[in-house]
Symmetry: C2
Subunit: 303 residues, 2 copies
């Protein structure tokens, strides 16, 4: 029996693309709200004895957890053989320790809830700050895929004379990986302290890069503050308007509009969270992750 | 050490009233949202080695589950001796079986999540349709309290010449209990079939009740449809405008306004869900339930 892919609401397109790549079937389900705010779920495709992959990107996760847990429990109740979760964007990785007394370590608590609902997890570039790996908080097998090669390929094809730019030392490793994949130069901005409260940001060897298009890359664009500031630094240094790339289009509040207004030449994201800025298709990564967990139920992965 | 009562946002007043009755302490906590929609929690009172009672009424439960689960996990992490939940209104009791193929039995799934978070549960008049008891779905000890005696007392004190009215045979048992407690007469409306599609609703012995004030009582007022229809039946029968009483002020959409507009003399609820219609204080019930689970940490229950 082929793998059954079940999209939670809003993930239908991702599920369809994934199914095409993995020769899987897309099933149907209903998730709706009663007038009193309770969630109703119904699976409309037979799941008995089948391997099931739920697809649910987890931006704004609080609204998504109960429907996801309910659908997973329903599939289990109805006799699914296994139930996995494809979460192109995974949430709750910020609060991975107790920074102040009394705080909840929500990375662990959220991971425990997900681990209690599904048997495996596939995701892309989780925002692991201090955690060595997802296994530090998830009790189920996880598979993490990396967008960098796809981001590199997109830049190589779409941005002539690109220069990768890292906003600070922390970003160097990630920016270097993308630059290396695209065979492009990169710079990391430097903070120059001119006084107690006066910190300037400068572009090293700025004159070398005047004919290039700066490309800013980050894993998540959430409030977009760092990226907006960096756009300003590049502008003041007299460089061209930069292309801003984020893997995950979280975009809190008006971050997307603000980033464009700040002077970005373009704002580009991968399709891990549906958004008008999606340009880089990561379906092949998800397909690879899913195939690894369901080797006997997925067809040959198209390459 | 006295019991520590921790109110989730919106339950501060209920927690304070409960603490006063049980000689317990009210602790403080922060629950807020990051710009990307993730929840942050922090306990501001020391919980180590203490018995903790969280207070969270669970109307519109989907927004409340994660904060509740996170606060419970945080308290556990920080060394609480036990963690209970006082949910004056408990959610997800409607979908207690699979009515149609493929449906999720959310009563069970929600109960499993709550049972995984806390050690005991106190609630008032859960809307058990077909379940014999909460124990059928909750894996933790539960204590169910009943509002009927308090509703009876309120009617006796506030409504001269009251007549309890049940909208249909299903409500008879509950209405009879309230009427009996208040030592008042009650009638149950009768459906009279006059043709294939023509069903009239009549008030038995209607002429006996013209000088009385009808009182409609139900456990939940959600959409309010049944109660609104019943107000119409009484009106057409020439009875006085009724007082409408619900234990739980769920009030989906504009149910409260609609019920007043339909001709109710007053709409009255118990304080299990904060609402302007709250008139009947059930703190004594909650206090009794909590004391039963924490006999060595609560003070003498004031009576």
């Amino acid at each position: 029996m082929t793998l059954l892919i079940l999209p939670l609401p809003g993930n239908e397109e991702a599920a369809q693309a994934l199914a095409e790549r993995n020769a899987a079937e897309v099933g149907a389900l209903t998730v709706r709200r009663f007038p009193d705010g309770e969630t109703y779920v119904r699976l409309e495709t037979e799941v008995r004895d089948r391997d099931v992959a739920l697809v649910s990107s987890l931006h704004r996760p609080d609204d998504k957890l109960l429907p996801l847990a309910f659908v997973a429990e329903t599939a289990r109740d109805l006799g699914s053989r296994s139930i996995g979760l494809v979460a192109p964007y995974l949430a709750y990785l910020r609060q991975d320790r107790r920074f102040q007394e009394g705080e909840g370590v929500t990375s662990r608590y959220f991971a425990r809830l997900i681990s209690g609902s599904v048997d495996w997890l596939v995701t892309i570039d989780p925002h692991l700050h201090r955690l060595p790996s997802l296994g530090a908080v998830y009790a189920i097998p996880t598979r993490v895929l990396h967008a960098a090669p796809h981001v590199s390929a997109w830049i190589r094809e779409q941005v002539p004379q690109a220069l990768l730019v890292g906003p600070d030392a922390e970003s160097a490793q990630w920016v270097e990986a993308v630059a290396h994949g695209a065979n492009l130069p990169f710079v990391v901005l430097e903070k120059v302290r001119r006084g107690d409260r006066d910190v300037a940001v400068s572009v090293p060897e700025v004159d070398r890069w005047r004919e290039r298009t700066p490309v800013l890359v980050d894993d998540i664009i959430s409030t977009g503050r760092t990226m907006i500031e960096t756009v300003g630094h590049l502008q003041r240094a007299g460089l061209r308007p930069p292309v801003c790339i984020g893997v995950h289009a979280v975009f809190a509040d008006r971050a997307y509009e603000d980033l464009l207004a700040a002077g970005a030449a373009a704002v580009i994201t991968c399709n891990t969270i549906p958004h008008p800025s999606n340009r880089i298709d990561l379906t092949p990564l998800l397909a690879e992750g899913v195939a690894a967990f369901t080797p006997d139920t997925t067809g040959a992965v198209a390459t």
